[in-house]
């Protein structure tokens, strides 16, 4: 009963948070203003004469002129991608500060994302393997039982048991876990 209660409480709050975030997302001005679009494009281009600054941030004269060009071209109806391509044609590819989602630069994005997903997959696979290969070793951990052994106790008391077990376990440094868990049970 109590478990259901706290579960639905947490779930309810998470739903509230999600609602707030989606409201914020929906209320955000949808068609971005011209200024925002100029800034957007500018922040993807590197100021050619500065050290580590984007066209959007740099105060240099060249960057100011480039921002003017971006504004003109966007007003003329070009897409963001076309404007960036315009600068790539003139200054070479190193002007793009963020690798593009196309061609060779796509690798810059795909390799880390792919490896991360592969890592996550490998992790899950290994865990499942470990889990399956040991169906009987579930030497019935103490925690679940303790939760049931203490019906009606208030939360603090339950937590106290759990915490004390862990703290005691930490006190006796680097012992074999099996010995340790026995000592826990005997406590």
């Amino acid at each position: 009963m109590k478990q259901k209660y706290s579960f639905s409480l947490v779930l309810g709050i998470v739903v509230v948070i999600a609602a707030i975030w989606s409201c914020m997302y929906l209320l955000a001005p949808k068609p971005p203003t011209l200024d925002q679009r100029v800034r957007d494009v500018g922040s993807q281009l590197k100021c050619p004469i500065c050290q580590g600054e984007s066209v959007a941030d740099s105060p240099s004269l060249l960057a100011q002129q480039m921002r003017g060009v971006i504004r003109q071209q966007l007003q003329a109806g070009k897409s963001e991608q076309e404007v960036i391509q315009y600068f790539v044609d003139r200054y070479g590819e190193q002007i793009v500060w963020t690798p593009q989602w196309q061609g060779f630069s796509l690798l810059a994005w795909l390799v880390p994302i792919g490896l991360l997903l592969a890592g996550a997959g490998l992790l899950l696979f290994t865990l499942r393997n470990w889990h399956i290969s040991s169906p009987t070793t579930g030497s019935t951990t103490t925690l679940d039982k303790d939760d049931k052994d203490l019906p009606g106790e208030d939360e603090l008391e339950r937590y106290r048991v759990l915490l004390e077990q862990e703290l005691v376990a930490e006190d006796v440094l680097f012992k074999d876990y099996r010995v340790e868990s026995q000592s826990c049970q005997s406590l």
Binding site: S54, W97, G138, R160
Partner: protein
């Protein structure tokens, strides 16, 4: 006879002793002759002695302005104050390698003095590995990169690069170089463990403490570097995803992953292979970092250190990787887990997620750093990977990491009953919801910032709530709350020190979110008497001042800051021109902190005495980055600090059940712990 000659002789002698140590230690271990191992240990102290001597010789050469030493002539001049002259010791390539070698020898000496605590079988191999690394640096120092090369003495030296003439120079490079170096010791332990194939659980404790020390030093170095960049570079930020910054972050990430996964090994006997790989990776990445700073293959704001030693580092890196991978594969069959995994919803499950995220971040950062190189080699086409890439890749990973940091401590080892989990999550989730709801009302409408702040609120609440409940448990045994808090930290340093680190990282992340999403930038061309208004601050420009000193010229603008209708202070942003480096003026940035908001004023341009282009950044929450960094360092030290009283207590309790502990030692020595 100059001091520099003494330096050269010392370096050669140190090299001799390092080689001797390496050979004798290995022979002593293989033939089982303790006297040889003891001789090797004493020989380490000789290496340390000669490196101290060499370093002293270099510092004396600097302080006595012996410009006959080429390195001294290139990196100092008569006009520099003595502390920068002494700090110029590590201002260039040769000196920084000497500094690396010196700190490595000092750490080796510390290891020798504390060797009683380390498992006996490992000592000779740890010593040999450390001296192997030392040998590489000493070969470099005595041949291609000798700081004591003499030239015909010029009347005055070049002086130091103006960017380096800053208080940051006195603390950041020594910390970061020492941080890189300190990953050598865990690596040496890992090598020793793999060579002997035999290690007790003492191994884990030793390697963990050395890694904690390395982690704390590297944390300090990184935060100091960010602070220095913020004060010197003038673009309003503290972290630019510059290749050299990235290189320093990489071993920190893998070491953080190791510090977590080692707990799984300690508790559950799992992840042995993985842990060993992380230690090797951290060291390889720290060598890669040193290589990157020194080689200049990748252009960076740290580009005052180009040289040709890069190829030597590359060779050394290759040797390290091949050697340790070989050992690693050789020992792989013996490294199997002692226990099985029970449930994903457990603390070890979250630690695995933590490792995936940290290593993922490290890989993404490394990939972004070397991608321009790959592109240049494959396509002959240079390209740039700038901050937006890292923001988009690392940002989401950091968000999940923060969430995991909050959930992890609430879970138990092995498995957590879902009832307990939901109960524990209640309070932090409510606080996150309050944060998410209040922020839009307070005018923060950016959704990503809202998500970030809410996650930070969740994790901060979870950590503090955990601390609070720990206090309650002790309080219920009759301790007053403050004493309970003290006792928690005193008795369970690693656990609660870890929470302090987590809180520090949350604070730092809040600062990062604040400055990333809410920075305001404004430029204005001003004449005397004119104002500019930025976010409630009014700056009144008064004019320029020009100060001429023997070795430099300083131009400053005088401005008043007005806030809430009151004059707050006068500020003097400016530029310093050193005569030897006229084309590289150093910026004097004025940073005034109001609560948690920084008013960052930079003199962008000026004409004569009465016109200036002033650039103002409003950087909200940036001070939290520094407080968070301090808190992380504090937590690291708490975790690292030796536990005397506890040991004694354990020893008493152990004597009472000797038989049991002997039994467990017996289990361990059968090789399953390897």
């Amino acid at each position: 006879m100059y001091f520099s000659d003494l330096g050269t002789v010392s370096l050669i002698l140190a090299l001799g002793f390092a080689l001797y140590t390496m050979i004798v230690a290995v022979i002593g271990a293989m033939r089982n002759q303790p006297q040889l191992v003891a001789s090797a240990q004493r020989s380490v102290l000789a290496v340390t002695f000669f490196l101290i001597l060499a370093s002293a010789a270099l510092i004396i050469s600097f302080l006595t302005h012996d410009f006959g030493v080429s390195y001294v002539a290139q990196h100092s001049n008569l006009a520099m104050p003595w502390y920068f002259t002494a700090a110029a010791f590590y201002g260039g390539q040769e000196g920084s390698l000497l500094y690396w070698a010196l700190t490595l020898s000092l750490f080796s000496a510390i290891f020798v003095f504390t060797a009683k605590r380390a498992p006996v079988v490992l000592i000779p191999y740890v010593v040999a590995t450390l001296m192997g690394i030392e040998t590489f640096f000493l070969i470099m120092l005595t041949t291609v990169s000798n700081p004591f090369v003499r030239i015909l003495a010029p009347s005055d030296g070049n002086g130091l690069n103006p960017l380096l003439m800053d208080p940051g120079m006195l603390v950041h490079p020594p910390m970061l170089l020492m941080g890189y170096m300190s990953f050598s010791v865990p690596f040496a332990f890992a090598v020793a463990a793999m060579v002997t194939g035999n290690l007790s659980s003492d191994w884990l404790r030793s390697i963990r403490r050395w890694t904690l020390a390395a982690w704390s030093i590297q944390t300090t170095g990184l935060v100091l570097g960010a602070w220095w960049a913020y004060h010197v570079l003038g673009w309003g930020g503290y972290w630019g995803w510059d290749p050299v910054e990235n290189a320093a972050l990489l071993p920190w990430l893998t070491a953080t992953a190791f510090l977590h996964s080692t707990m799984v090994q300690e508790r559950r006997g799992m992840l042995k292979v993985w842990n060993r790989a992380l230690v090797i990776l951290s060291f390889a990445l720290s060598i890669f970092g040193t290589f990157e700073v020194r080689s200049g293959v990748i252009s960076s704001v740290h580009s005052f250190a180009y040289s040709d030693v890069g190829s030597y580092f590359l060779v050394f890196l290759a040797i390290v990787i091949v050697f340790s991978t070989g050992l690693f594969l050789f020992r792989l069959p013996k490294l199997h887990a002692e226990q099985e995994f029970d449930s994903v919803i457990s603390r070890e499950g979250v630690f695995l997620l933590n490792n995936l995220l940290l290593v993922g971040m490290a890989f993404a950062t490394l990939w972004g750093t070397i991608f321009p190189l790959i592109s240049a080699v494959i396509r002959r086409q240079t390209m740039t990977v700038g901050p937006p890439f890292y923001d988009q890749v690392i940002g989401p990973l950091l968000a999940v990491l923060i969430l995991a940091m909050g959930v992890g401590p609430l879970l138990a080892w092995r498995r957590t009953s879902s009832a307990a989990l939901w109960r524990n999550l209640g309070v932090p989730t409510i606080i996150a919801a309050v944060c998410a709801a209040v922020l839009p009302l307070a005018g923060v409408t950016d959704i990503l910032a809202n998500i970030g702040f809410s996650l930070c609120a969740f994790t901060a609440a979870a950590s503090l709530y955990e601390l609070w409940r720990g206090m309650c448990v002790r309080h219920s045994h009759g301790e007053p709350y403050l004493l309970a808090l003290y006792m928690l930290f005193n008795r369970y340093r690693q656990r609660y020190g870890g929470y302090v680190v987590h809180l520090g990282l949350v604070l730092l992340t809040v600062g990062v979110i604040g400055s990333h999403f809410f920075q305001i930038q404004q430029d204005a061309l001003l004449k005397p008497g004119q104002d500019m208004n930025v976010a409630g601050f009014r700056l009144t420009y008064l004019g320029n001042l020009d100060t001429k000193e023997p070795d430099k010229e300083i131009i400053t603008s005088q401005l008043q800051i007005w806030h809430d209708g009151q004059l707050q202070s006068y500020i003097y942003p400016g530029r310093t021109f050193y005569h030897n480096f006229d084309d590289q003026p150093a910026s004097q940035i004025s940073i005034t902190t109001f609560g948690v908001t920084d008013l960052y004023v930079f003199l962008a341009d000026w004409t004569g005495a009465s016109q200036a282009t002033i650039r103002v950044f409003i950087n909200p929450l940036v001070p939290l980055v520094w407080y968070g960094g301090l808190l992380m360092l504090l937590g690291g030290i708490l975790c690292w600090w030796p536990v005397r009283t506890k040991r004694a207590a354990v020893r008493v309790s152990q004597t009472s059940d000797v038989s049991r502990s002997q039994k467990s030692a017996g289990i361990e020595s059968k090789g399953i712990v390897v």
